[in-house]
């Protein structure tokens, strides 16, 4: 049954679903990183998501923003690596922006993704086109801003499509940041590992509310 809005317990369940999907995708994510980086992205995300599950199931989910922030904190302090800081920032910055909100709707999603994207860009200095997870997160955030008046399931579907398209677009980009940058032209044709994670995260959120 489609959900028009989520309460804090549902947001927690959604994040638990995200955690499981990412853990499941570990081999895919590691392989993507092996093509362009050092091959550990899936391992790191799995470690982070296990910490998320432990954190979210050990506390009462009293605030939607805090559920996301706890997700971010759990990732940041367990993962390390570029993605620990980056994905930790996604959920910490995104969650902080909607702290205190009563329900997670398309409007909150828009606030969340835009704050997340700004936070990541500030933290890591990556611009769109640098072949990082920003290339999936930024289109998602932009689309989210356009669909605030839609029901949550439709909005999340549009956002997920944008994230997926961004990830696909990252294939054509030449890496300029992080470990892949010296690949230069050779990096063309392969999707960025972090962008793959963003696409999976957003798709799982879409499926949860659908």
């Amino acid at each position: 049954m489609p959900k028009e809005s989520l309460n804090s317990a549902e947001v927690r369940d959604m994040m638990l679903a995200v955690a499981d999907k990412i853990i499941e995708a570990e081999p895919i994510l590691s392989e993507a990183d092996r093509q362009l980086g050092d091959g550990d992205h899936g391992i790191g995300m799995e470690r982070g998501m296990n910490a998320v599950k432990e954190k979210l199931t050990s506390e009462e989910p009293d605030d939607i923003g805090k559920v996301f922030m706890n997700t971010g904190m759990a990732m940041m302090s367990s993962m390390g690596g570029a993605s620990g800081a980056i994905f930790g920032t996604v959920f910490r910055a995104g969650g902080k922006a909607i702290k205190g909100c009563e329900a997670f709707t398309a409007a909150e999603a828009a606030t969340f993704f835009q704050a997340a994207c700004e936070g990541v860009k500030e933290r890591g200095g990556a611009k769109p086109g640098d072949k990082t997870m920003v290339d999936s997160l930024q289109p998602a955030a932009e689309k989210a801003a356009e669909v605030t008046d839609q029901p949550l399931p439709a909005a999340m579907a549009a956002i997920a499509d944008a994230a997926e398209a961004g990830k696909e677009a990252s294939k054509d980009m030449i890496a300029t940041m992080g470990r892949a940058k010296t690949l230069g032209e050779k990096s063309v044709g392969k999707a960025d590992a972090g962008a793959c994670s963003v696409a999976i995260i957003v798709a799982t959120m879409r499926d949860f509310v659908a």
């Binding site: 081999p27 590691s30 092996r34 980086g37 050092d38 091959g39 550990d40 899936g42 391992i43 790191g44 470690r47 940041m76 302090s77 367990s78 993962m79 390390g80 690596g81 570029a82 993605s83 620990g84 800081a85 980056i86 933290r123 890591g124 940041m177 992080g178 470990r179 892949a180 940058k181 010296t182 690949l183 230069g184 050779k186």
Partner: protein, 348 residues
Amino acid sequence: MSVQKKLINDPLKVADELVEGLIEAYNGEVRMVGTRSVVKNSIPDGKVALLVGGGSGHEPIYHGLVGRNLADGAACGDIFAAPPPNIVFEATEAVNKGNGVLYLYGNYAGDVMNFDIGAEMAEDEDIDVRTVLIADDVCSAPPTEKDKRRGIAGLVPIVKIVGAASQKAPNLDELEKVAKKAVLETRSVGVSMSPGSIPATGKPTFEIEADKIGLGMGIHGEPGVGEIPMSTADELTPQMLDMIIEDFEKDDDVEALKEGDDIVLIVNSLGATTMMELLICLRKAKDYFNSRGINIHDVVVGPLVTCQEMTGISFSVTRVDDVLKKFWNMPCQSLCYTKMTGRYGDLS
């Protein structure tokens, strides 16, 4: 290359277990702090502290550089992953003796972000933190973009020198100056013949044809400037050293390496490359510098900065003037590098 048979336990706990072992290897000189930091037991009050760190899996660095006249502590990440901010912060608190902490680590996006967040946490506690990034890999960006370069085996002479300087450094400013100078005067080039594997997946970090080697590859198997045919020690050594010499020449921030200069030379194995090969390459490197009138003040040979069982070699050159030489010549002791006395010490 097939999956390696590694002597480990739970593949997801290797970082924790190896740091536990590292504490034992130090046999009383260091202790574990917080989640996964290594800190010296006796740091004098008021000492300007030196903190290093980075991902595990490259042993004996980074945590193996904690020691006498070396770093005061290390923040240890998981395999090939920068330490999370809380670990950086815990290490910072533990090494801080009231006169500030210098962060000195390799320039990787993940490390920079996590150490920066750690520094923000430390500053909230009124701990003075300064950061100098190690970026010695000339193949990872042109001299005009040194801030984009990776840190590889040049970190060994840099940490050695800065660690010695930190013993008597009056304040963070002075130590930062020495560190910046050591970084500026240090340049490295690496090659790899075959990959290491990630303990958790058993998978090699990259693939390469049987008759090719990766020129300029990074210590996580990051691509370098290109693949070249496998060649001999005597062909490859000058080719790599030329790249270092050219880089000193092309970089406006530093003088060219010239006749009469003194250097410290590091010949590093990336893991499975044998000491035999390092020595054969060193022999050629000595010829190379001799013929240019450049004096090898000291040389260190061995597996110092590794990527599991990766095969490959890197050369690092640090030009040492009288100041850097004084710091280089001090004795030091750690898992990664130990030096009893200066080159012409009193013991025969």
